[in-house]
Subunit: 328 residues, 2 copies
Amino acid sequence: MATELRYVGLDVGGTTMKAAVVDDDGRVAPHVSLPTEPERGQEAGLETMCQAIRMAIAAAGSTLDEIAAIGVATPGTMDLKTGYILDPPNLKPWRNVPVRDYIAHHFGKPTAFQNDANAAAMGEYWSGAGAGTRSLVMFTLGTGIGGGIIINGEVLEGEHSHGAELGHMKIEMTNPRLCGCGKRGCLEAYASATAVVKRTEEALAQTSPTSILHSIRREKKLTARRIFEAAMAGDALALRIVDETAAMLALGASNLMHVINPEMVVFAGGMVEAGDWFLQQIRRHVPTYAFPVPAERTQICFARLGSDAGFIGAAACARQLIRGALRR
Amino acid sequence: MATELRYVGLDVGGTTMKAAVVDDDGRVAPHVSLPTEPERGQEAGLETMCQAIRMAIAAAGSTLDEIAAIGVATPGTMDLKTGYILDPPNLKPWRNVPVRDYIAHHFGKPTAFQNDANAAAMGEYWSGAGAGTRSLVMFTLGTGIGGGIIINGEVLEGEHSHGAELGHMKIEMTNPRLCGCGKRGCLEAYASATAVVKRTEEALAQTSPTSILHSIRREKKLTARRIFEAAMAGDALALRIVDETAAMLALGASNLMHVINPEMVVFAGGMVEAGDWFLQQIRRHVPTYAFPVPAERTQICFARLGSDAGFIGAAACARQLIRGALRR
């Protein structure tokens, strides 16, 4: 329709960037992907972003004139107020890149800039697992644990762009594990995919070699996926690791129920592929940690948009520049 | 001024209720106090609330006609959406009391209803420690640990009125202390005034009687205040307890820096009387737990309004009904 507004969402990852045109109702045109190749430097990176945006517009059979606004999501560290990427570990050697203003000037369009985990949460809120909810908290389980919080259509960015760094809540004092961030006791050090493998390796070193994980480890690299598969096949050690992981994620979710108290908690990332069985385990542990009312009423779901959540959420942030927050 | 709007704020506690008229700029008229006497039942309680509001209007030399709106804060449990107190442990035997609608109908005024800890945070945001900030997180340290979160002038109420139950964040898995709420590992079970006394009693039972706390305990009831005084007098055990408490509060504050990432963290309650020395100890522990940027930039302060914060914040919630959120 000629009168319908359209937005471009771009999600820049360490390996790949993805972009698509999304319309005012969240309908997504075919997306495009380009290699990010951060090692080619930030000037090349900015040009690749522009190229991805142009390709996405073409893939939608659209023209730049029809685009109302652009949204860009990148990994941190960043300054959301000024629209800069600062010193992102996943985009080395980029440093102090004025992403928002560069894209805005290049295309002459209002441009939103957002952290990738926040954008993914916004995508799920707009048209994924959280469609229809007023508020959601999302945990993205991967190498680390990312987070995003949406309340009444607005990303909780925080005063210094550190809102929803949920993987770095401290959940242990007595014997706190070292986290990749350099601190101790972070949720990420217990329940990220990386941490699941590490905890399993430690358990294997301490047990007699009866677990099928011992033989898997002799032949292949131990991964969270293989540990979850072993659990589904009934391996006792793997079942214990998965159950402990579910308990830790339930504790993390419960902490957010006592801070944000959202309508929904969403889990995203590779572990989601373990399926509903794992979700049930997380849900089962929640009443141990959360007050009865939020334990009973908070919806706990898996994400639905997969790796498209980032560019859809970036488009949602672009839409917000034009339409205001998507309050419900 | 005849054109200036005025509000009544009422803060209902388990023992006393306090009310005052507050003008549009946060200037507070003399407040009034009445005993709550919850044991007389909820009908009597509602009538006492009305009486406190009338007395506050009279104490301000004002009339009901000059009042634009009323705000009432009460302890939980509650349903903020419907304006009911549900089953408050501190107001037994009250149950399912339609506070907001009762007051609104009685006075014929728009009436706001808020949790007492949220209202206190709102008071500090409006005209206390947080005046001028965009966002703050407040921890109130007493028998338990209450919390309030204000972002851009709005109370984070949560979907089921459980927003900012900060005392019930879990911070320990290995050997989690039992909390008054029935769960384990809550911040409150470590760092409330009650928990400080309990941790001290345990330490005293395990140490030779060299601490001055041993002799204090033989003569008087051990209180958080006496433990802090012993620390200030140089007692080694008391110093250790206070330092551990500061570390746990720094951990709690850091968790909020990684979830809300506010401009300011405010501590309120009796421990505040320990003075700037204790605040410095909390600040010193923050970099152990928080990322460098929020650790460096988040203001960590004591509350300024004391027990007036509740009715001032209740008035701020009333003001919001008329003026909208106090965004900065």
